[in-house]
């Protein structure tokens, strides 16, 4: 074990996988300079053939990822900010998510798209969207949202080895967060949730960047005797529904914390799944702690008002645990 920052863990994952598999090509805007640090040093290590700075042209880049993958390469495609996914959306939605299906599974499309997701740094509306619900609805894109450096490393390695298009969404501005990362080879299968903290009173499903405030909240409430179980799905597609439902069946209560806008969020979807498949176990309304249906504002005081924080989560837990069926 060693203490590493999340971005370092990601950097190692890419480096190790590119060492391991010479068919991998990585491209995107300024991957050589590396804004976030995840691709730092790769250009020097692997050269300009396998690590390519592209012009600014997301529509082409995302389509090239599909074309190169269809033609036999394993691709890592850096989209930088989540909002630029919209700019490259056509090939993501119409090609990456569909080409295998439309052609009856003739090909695999081993593509890992990298992007940061969410707000919190006054980057304002065009650099702060959490785009995972939009991607999740496409059906053909896997989605990874790591909650810790170790998970980032193990999940990114799994994503790169995966034969399907995967979006790896790292929480924006949280690359510096440290955590213990095992020294040995670490590959965490996609589709396996993890219970970050056990608890009997309420299940708190927390996605990506929300894991940390969820744990903080759980720790704070433990002092009052409220035992919160924090479940980190780690991947949204595929979703480990079993682990989530098993937890809900134990606690009888569910809250989902998601940094997405509320309407059609992953929080909504997980809530809907529980309202169908764990209905008989539910002892309280299912709550969502999400971003209201607005843009992410610039001023810190405004941004704090719309992003889910510990206090929003805590309020939801108290309301859920304290709920009594009206007479």
């Amino acid at each position: 074990m060693a203490r590493k920052r999340m971005i370092q863990a990601m950097n190692e994952a890419i480096l190790e996988e590119m060492e391991r598999d010479p068919s991998i090509v990585l491209f995107g805007e300024d991957v050589k300079a590396s804004l976030f640090g995840d691709t730092r040093g790769l250009w020097k290590r692997f050269g300009p053939d396998r690590v390519r700075d592209t012009p600014i042209c997301e529509a082409l880049i995302s389509g090239m990822a599909v074309g190169a993958a269809a033609a036999g390469r394993r691709v890592i495609c850096h989209m930088m900010f989540g909002n630029f996914v919209y700019t490259g959306m056509d090939a993501i939605a119409n090609q990456a998510a569909k080409l295998r299906y439309m052609t009856n599974g003739q090909i695999t499309l081993p593509i890992t798209f990298l992007a940061v997701s969410g707000g919190g740094r006054s980057a304002a509306a065009q650099h702060s969207d959490a785009v995972h619900p939009v991607l999740a609805n496409l059906g053909g894109i896997k989605i990874v949202m790591p909650g810790s450096p170790a998970d980032a490393k193990g999940l990114l390695k799994a994503a790169i080895r995966d034969d399907d298009p995967v979006f790896f969404l790292q929480a924006a501005g949280r690359g510096g967060e440290p955590g213990e990362v095992p020294d040995e080879e670490l590959v965490i299968p996609l589709g396996e949730a993890c219970i970050r903290r056990p608890g009997r009173d309420v299940t708190l499903v927390a996605i990506g960047a929300m894991v940390r405030p969820a744990i903080k909240c759980a720790e704070a409430l433990a002092g009052e005797g409220i035992e919160v179980e924090v479940v980190d799905p780690r991947t949204l597609v595929p979703l480990d529904l079993e682990t989530i439902l098993a937890s809900v069946r134990r606690t009888g209560r569910l809250i989902v914390v998601d940094e997405a806008r509320d309407t059609c969020s992953s929080a909504s979807h997980i809530a809907a799944l529980a309202a169908e498949h764990a209905f008989d176990a539910l002892r309280a309304p299912i709550r969502r702690v999400t971003v209201p249906d607005c843009c992410i504002p610039y001023a810190p005081v405004l941004e704090r008002a719309v992003l889910p924080g510990v206090e929003h989560i805590e309020a939801a837990v108290r309301a859920t645990v304290g709920w009594r069926r009206p007479r």
Binding site: A59, G63, M64, G67, R73, N94, Q95, Y101, T103
Partner: protein, 330 residues
């Protein structure tokens, strides 16, 4: 048309002719099938443009990549796709090349380098650029060809591909088939200037050819493919042609006003690439009438066989409908 310039043998010339005719007859069959209500979805026919797919694909091997458009049957067949499996696909059958999942707008066969027809106008351009990148990394002289229409040339992704193609010297060949229309809009109403010029600011070689002259297309593609194989980077070819059938087969049912004159269509029919090439072969003594007839018969048999195979093929299993979204579902 000049055979001297093309250096093609008589056998090769007849092969070009055969392939064009195969595309034509397959699509005439599809037109009849569509009119008879036998096709579940829309079909966009390539009639009149066959010289382009055939003239280009003659230079390509199975390992080379092509991407195509909503009007993709010609490219599929020209690149060596199986006629019966294409027919079965368009009929929506289990033996279709995509198992009935894709249909007319998505016929693809990766084993033949056919990345596929595409329902997104301009969608194939980025795919081909990516395939060209893969080809370049493979380092064995493969190329990638994007076929697209004049309408698609107005999608900005073309400029993006020219830029990246030029920067990285990708083995990419961009074939713009200017058939006079973007759906129902005459090209000039939606396309400023000349498409062929659009490559020049990027330093990408570009040429314009008569797309109804299979040998002219062959020549242009010959240069472009050679350059690409040798690491010389991309080429844009604008092939001038005309769509003599409708944009989509049943357009008369919803288009209330004519968008072109019958005289214009007739004038272009007179320049039909297949008729022209047959006359050329005859005039130059390169094919006897009975040879051409034999080809016609053989093609007719292939089409009939394709229909038989397609009709005999079962419908896909509905239980398989959600089956292969992912290679590793979990």
């Amino acid at each position: 048309m000049s055979v001297a310039a093309s250096n093609l043998s008589r056998e090769e010339l007849l092969a070009l002719y055969q392939r064009m005719l195969l595309i034509r007859r397959m699509e005439e069959q599809l037109a009849r099938d569509c009119a008879a209500g036998k096709l579940p979805g829309p079909v966009h026919l390539y009639v009149g443009q066959e010289a382009i797919a055939v003239g280009v694909c003659h230079h390509l091997e199975d390992r080379d990549w092509i991407t195509s458009t909503h009007r993709g049957h010609g490219h599929f067949l020209a690149k060596g796709g199986d006629p019966a499996r294409m027919m079965a696909e368009i009929y929506g059958r289990a033996d279709g090349i995509c198992g009935g999942f894709g249909g007319s707008m998505h016929v693809a066969d990766f084993s033949k380098g056919i990345i596929g027809a595409n329902g997104i106008v301009g969608g194939g351009i980025a795919l081909a650029t990516g395939a060209a990148l893969a080809a370049q990394l493979d380092g064995d002289g493969k190329v990638a060809v994007a076929f697209f229409g004049d309408g698609a040339a107005n999608q900005g992704v073309l400029m993006e591909a020219l830029n990246v193609g030029a920067l990285w010297k990708l083995p990419l060949i961009l074939i713009c088939e200017n058939n006079g229309f973007s759906e129902f809009s005459p090209t000039a109403t939606v396309t400023a200037g000349r498409i062929v010029e659009r490559a020049r600011p990027f330093g990408v070689p570009a040429l314009k050819v008569d797309g109804n002259d299979v040998l002219a297309v062959w020549q242009a593609a010959n240069q472009a493919v050679r350059r690409a194989r040798e690491g010389g980077g991309p080429t844009l070819i604008e092939a001038i042609t005309y769509r003599t059938r409708g944009h989509v087969e049943y357009e008369v049912t919803f288009i209330t006003e004519p968008y072109r004159s019958e005289a214009e269509v007739e004038a272009w029919r007179a320049k039909d690439p297949i008729g022209r090439f047959a006359a050329y072969l005859a005039t130059h003594g390169l094919a006897a009438a009975d040879e051409l007839e034999a080809i016609e018969r053989a093609v007719g048999e292939t089409v009939a066989e394709a229909v038989r195979v397609a009709e005999a093929s079962p419908e896909p299993d509905p239980a398989s409908a959600t089956g292969h979204m992912f290679a590793n579902p979990r």
